[in-house]
Symmetry: C2
Subunit: 113 residues, 2 copies
């Protein structure tokens, strides 16, 4: 009741803070290494070591990226013994990635000079 908020069905233009927050999420997927890490654990939980091995990266680097991804709830972590398994947080992530892949596969109307 304090703020009329739920009244606006679809805010045509997002508040700048929200836009910045949204941009932060996209930026996380905007790095090739980090995106490959996400792709590596998109379908099933994978331990950090295996991600690093599969992608040919140092465990340190993978861990750094995973922290950012986890903080943004793009991936979820679960400990199992000494290992920590990471997986895509939810279906939104999978859908977004899939949609962007489709977009990439689409024929461009005309090349930009």
């Amino acid at each position: 009741m304090t703020k009329i908020h739920a009244l606006r069905p679809r805010p045509r233009t997002l508040s700048d803070d929200h836009a910045a927050e949204l941009a932060d999420l996209f930026r996380l997927l905007g790095d090739a290494t980090r995106l490959r890490i996400v792709l590596a654990c998109l379908e099933a939980p994978v331990p950090v070591g295996e991600i690093a091995a599969r992608l040919g990266l140092s465990g340190s680097l993978v861990s750094h990226h995973l922290r950012l991804l986890r903080a943004a709830s793009i991936v979820r972590a679960e400990r199992q013994g000494k290992q920590v398994f990471y997986a895509a947080a939810d279906d939104h992530v999978r859908r977004i990635v899939a949609d962007m892949m489709e977009h990439m596969a689409e024929p461009k109307s005309e090349e930009d000079a």
Copy 2:
């Protein structure tokens, strides 16, 4: 016939080049200013000047960003007299943005320390 490509239904792990290309697309949406520009012309074509005015940005800056977005087929340009109208290229873009908004709105499982 040169490359067996269409045979693999769903490449579980993308080739590194494709991953980099995909990351480039995400990175474009990963800047707050650029994302706001996309949001501004997400539902209907808008001339550059109006985008700049609505967002309180210089025409130069908006133009720079629009060039990148156009090169990636995220937005489409159409000239009408002296003005150039920009709009989201297709529904993929709209869907991706919408999905990411939903993701942002979701409750986080637990805050990251």
